[in-house]
């Protein structure tokens, strides 16, 4: 944004984290040395579904170096089960034991835990634990799972249907009946997993004297995790401290309190020894958390010009065997926002969430990732069926600027978004007409280029009013404190849980901007529940808006008190003062917009506030410490438009990406450097998902993708350079105009890439509807078909 009036925001800044990370001096969970610590290793079910008949731990216990071997029975005595029963319509309550005592529900389900002097011995002992299973039939397919005779995954969930939600506004059926055409399209997104390069892990230290648990764990949500941990261990929240160190990526996988983590905490208390656990990659790929695996079918009623008259969405998601999150939560967002930036009055959805004998789901960067692929794929389907240009179809249906604020069919209020502008921006950048010419020319030479477009409206920050309206318990607020120390240096804190997003500099910028000091004078502390205020943590893309917003507003409060003190000291009105780079400036009495340095610094004010409080103006209390909670608007959006150019090698099915461009509006940027990195990372994850990733369970429920040689993520040779066109406009309601971002890239990439591939294959009359877009799948589509344009 040009000339936003900010001194520190919207300006690229080097990250303060870099120095320690680039020299290998970061401190991740496994780097924390704890004297006398024991190592845990879990024994896991080889079966997808089985009754646990018996567990014999004698041989394992007899191995030298083994201290304990526990099962679900002991854990049931030491901990309370998880009850997941939020009052949400259509959601069946479930209860999850800490470790299963009777039945295992997926291959990798933990059934016992060995504690030994090191991980090597613990793994040796784990092999000696003898578990007798009675194997049961498994269901690994979300269509089969709803058949009446399918094996039941959870006795509390009849028919494996854990959530069923429907909605309708207007009368889509009637509209369809009289429409020129009803266009149907399908979207089949595969099961994936997060693959942070650092797997899960934790260290539990029980202080017997103080009866206090210190739990080191990489987490996005330090305080909510502490609340959960204390409750499950029947401890007071004041008896538990959660400390999140440097985290090697999370993407949503380090939010829930996992059974392994709870087990380790309980063991530390029971054994009166510190216990640590580091998940290995096999466990991470098969037993941490899965994600996605959604199927969507849309029906779009249109007129002969491609005007969207009504839309219905049928959606089904395979949630796996266990619910560590409300099962409806991820898919619900898709159904709520799928219409995106498009105008439509008649809309209905039917969303089913199904259980199966697979690892349970957790939100993965852009849990609603399928959304834009669905809507933009629907737009392309309309264009294809009516023989219209896909750009024209979109333009016809895009909500125009003068129509904002726009209330969507599901009641969402779209405001301060610029989808028309970003769409225009990206089309200009890719030279749409020029591409069509190149495409025509290439086809005559037997080469198949494609261009895919995808408009994204990304919900980034959920305020508490959103949860209330949706009938979900929970809050969207964030908490902060700012303390100016006697020397004038600034400490601050916020309840977020960083996992690589560069908060230290971004959040310091927010404080710097609010207070009027250089960011280098601000240090932000996060991840320690005794230090940070109680916040909701990092998830979705809320950290910028909610966290940055809270710090900005808190710092502004600090500035007000500082200037009031300065005003008293200088004998002028506080309105005539401002703080710039830690120095107090006074408006030039001459009336020009000129400011004069007063020689008074923040350090001077701080010393006075702490050491000479009786000299403060009436009504002011000693010190300079401020606390603030901030509840952002019910929903905040950012938007982007993505364009991807590909070439499909029709002989081998290989897809290569020639170009990727994104025009984005993310509002005020806490640190543009970080925003660019987030956009790269989100788009990369989307492209990787569309092309390579796939958690594959065979029919017996065996996970066949348990190594990084089988579960493929994109490397440097598969990804393009991403060209970013910034088109930022501030949000008029949020603190500092921040909108947030970080997930929209995933949404855009899935849609842009798939649409590009389909554009390339158009001469063959085929459409890819399933991810991943493997070379084999491309050949399956093309086999026996010839190009109509010769």
């Amino acid at each position: 944004m040009r000339d936003s009036g900010f001194r520190y925001l919207n300006r690229p800044v080097r990250r303060t984290e870099d120095r320690r990370l680039v020299t290998g001096q970061g401190r991740y969970i496994d780097d924390i040395a704890v004297p006398g610590v024991l190592h845990a290793c879990f024994v896991r079910s080889p079966h997808a579904h089985a009754r646990i008949v018996s567990i014999d731990t004698a041989d394992a216990l007899a191995l030298p170096g083994v201290v304990a071997v526990v099962t679900g029975e002991e854990l049931a005595q030491w901990t309370k089960p998880l009850r997941m029963a939020p009052p949400i319509e259509g959601l069946v309550p479930v209860e999850v034991e800490t470790l299963p005592t009777t039945t295992v529900r997926f291959q990798g389900d933990p059934v016992a835990c060995v504690v030994a002097c090191d991980r090597y011995v613990a793994e040796d002992a784990a092999e000696l634990v003898q578990v007798e299973y009675d194997a049961l039939p498994a269901v690994t397919d979300m269509w089969r799972a709803l058949e009446p005779d399918a094996p039941q995954v959870d006795p509390m969930v009849a028919g494996n249907l854990v959530s069923h939600q429907t909605f309708a506004v207007g009368d889509p059926a009637a509209v369809e009946a009289r429409a020129h055409r009803v266009v149907e399209a399908c979207f089949d997104q595969q099961r994936q997993t997060h693959v942070p390069i650092e797997t899960r892990g934790c260290v539990a230290v029980w202080d017997l004297g103080r009866e206090h648990l210190t739990f080191h764990v990489g987490t996005q949500v330090p305080h909510p995790l502490r609340t959960q941990l204390a409750a499950r261990l029947s401890l007071d929240e004041s008896q538990v401290t959660v400390i999140s160190p440097d985290v090697g990526g999370s993407f949503g996988q380090k939010i829930a309190l996992y059974r392994e983590e709870l087990t380790v905490a309980a063991l530390a208390r029971a054994l009166r020894r510190p216990v640590r656990w580091r998940e290995d990659r096999l466990e991470n790929l098969t037993a941490a958390a899965n994600s996605r695996e959604d199927f969507c079918r849309t029906r779009a009623a249109v007129d002969e010009h491609g005007t969207l008259l009504s839309l219905t969405l049928e959606m089904r998601e395979d949630f796996g065997a266990y619910c560590f999150f409300p099962a409806n939560y991820l898919a619900r967002v898709v159904a709520m926002i799928v219409t995106g930036p498009y105008r439509v009055d008649h809309y209905a959805y039917d969303v089913k969430i199904v259980l199966s004998h697979k690892c349970g789901n957790a939100p993965m960067r852009a849990p609603m990732s399928i959304t834009s692929w669905v809507m933009e794929g629907t737009m392309d389907a309309i264009a294809r069926e009516l023989g219209l240009d896909p750009v024209d179809v979109r333009r016809r249906n895009l909500i125009a600027p003068h129509e904002l604020p726009y209330r969507t069919p599901t009641g969402e209020c779209l405001e301060d978004i610029t989808p028309t502008e970003t769409f225009d921006g990206v089309l200009r950048a890719v030279d749409y007409e020029g591409f069509r010419e190149r495409q025509r020319d290439a086809r005559t030479r037997g080469r198949y280029l494609g261009l895919g477009l995808c408009n994204v409206v990304e919900p980034t920050t959920y305020g508490s009013r959103f949860y209330k309206a949706a009938g979900i318990s929970g809050s969207g607020h964030e908490a902060s404190w700012v303390r100016i120390e006697p020397s004038g240096i600034v400490n601050a804190s916020v309840g977020l849980g960083p996992s690589g997003q560069g908060y230290e500099s971004a959040m310091a910028n927010a404080v710097a901007e609010g207070l009027g000091v250089e960011p280098s004078r601000v240090r932000v502390h996060m991840g320690h529940t005794d230090v940070a205020p109680y916040g909701m943590g990092s998830r979705g893309a809320r950290s910028g808006t909610a966290g940055g917003g809270a710090l900005f507003l808190c710092a502004q409060e600090a500035r007000r008190k500082v200037l009031t003190i300065a005003a008293g000291r200088l004998g002028v009105d506080a309105q005539a003062l401002r703080m710039v780079d830690g120095r107090v400036e006074r408006r030039d009495a001459s009336g020009d917009d000129a400011w004069l340095d007063t020689a008074l610094t923040l350090a001077d004010i701080a010393r006075q506030a702490y050491l000479d409080p009786t000299s403060l103006p009436d009504g002011l209390t000693p010190g300079l410490e401020f606390h603030l909670t901030y509840d952002p608007p019910a929903m905040t959006y950012s938007n982007s438009a993505h364009a991807c150019e590909v070439e499909v090698d029709v002989a081998t099915g290989a897809i290569s990406i020639a170009r990727y461009v994104v025009a984005e509006d993310c509002g005020t940027l806490l640190n543009p450097t970080v925003v660019e990195g987030q956009q790269h990372g989100a788009i990369a994850m989307g492209l990787s998902g569309a092309l390579f990733e796939h958690v594959v369970y065979d029919e017996a429920g065996q996970n066949t993708t348990g190594s990084l040689a089988d579960y493929l993520i994109a490397t440097a040779t598969e990804l393009p350079d991403i060209e970013i066109i910034p088109m930022h406009t501030p949000n008029r309601t949020t603190a500092a105009g921040i909108k947030g971002m970080a997930e929209g890239g995933v949404m855009g990439a899935l849609g842009a890439l798939t649409n590009a591939v389909n554009d390339a294959l158009a001469p063959f009359g085929v459409v890819a509807t399933q991810h991943p877009l493997t070379p084999m799948a491309m050949r399956d589509l093309l086999r026996g078909r010839s190009s109509r344009t010769g």
């Binding site: 991980r119 090597y120 793994e123 040796d124 092999e127 290995d280 990659r281 096999l282 002989a651 081998t652 099915g653 290989a654 390579f692 594959v696 065979d698 066949t704 190594s707 040689a709 493929l712 994109a714 490397t715 040779t717 598969e718 493997t774 070379p775 084999m776 050949r779 399956d780 086999r783």
Partner: protein, 290 residues
Amino acid sequence: MKPAAFSYHRPHSLDHVLALLAEHGFDAKLIAGGQSLAPMMNMRFAQPAHLIDLNGVPQLDGVRLDGATLVVGALTRHHALATDPLVASACPLLAEAAATIGHYAIRQRGTLGGSLANADPAAQLPLVARTLDAVIDVSGPGGARDIPAADFFVAALTTTLEPDEIVTAVRFPCACVGDGHAFELFSRRHGDFAIAACAVTVTVSAGCFERLRLGVGGIADAPLALDEVAAEFAGARADAAVVERIAARVASLVEPVEQPGISVEYRRELVEALIARALTRAVRRALNET
């Protein structure tokens, strides 16, 4: 994922290696580069009681010319094969193939002997050895012997090496001036194991194929050399139409195995495309040379 316990041995001569193999037999595994074995051990799919480390054995090193043969020691690293000027000039197909193995760090450790003894059906070096009719020098308790590549690879991960034998060197025929070569590999991502690969050499004379070598890997239990097809097209014009026919012929003859997600049909189509591309490049190289 920690390996099971083992006893470690670091012999300093070939004789010592053989003595250890004789003593421990099936309880022992040889480790050279370790880039294939260590993952298996860390995942506990392999649990040898004895690990015999070859990295200290001097007789297994070295690359040299012996007349019209390139003799490559078993312990030669993939990176050396990919970058040694002697290999590049004497056996360019070997150099090109080695450069595609895994990734830069993997190639620093992985060895020729290890790759051949492991006999992964998708591996590059077994394919090159088979295509070029290389000879594998082997040492055992009974002394040294030679195994032609055609007789060495039996099935997936299975060779005709006895449990008490080790590969000491491999002999590759040197390329002739004016020969062309090409190695083509198709995988999901850069550095992944081949879904299909092919290795070809051509000798072109007066615009015709005087001699052809055609090898296909990654699709069956062991690398294949299409000697009959090579003979069939000896003397044919080295042009695009013939290249297409050769590719179609090879594709029709091979019998790819079925794998989850990768159909027999797909592999066949892939082989056809790869052979055509490889021959086209090889011919271009041959013509540029002369």
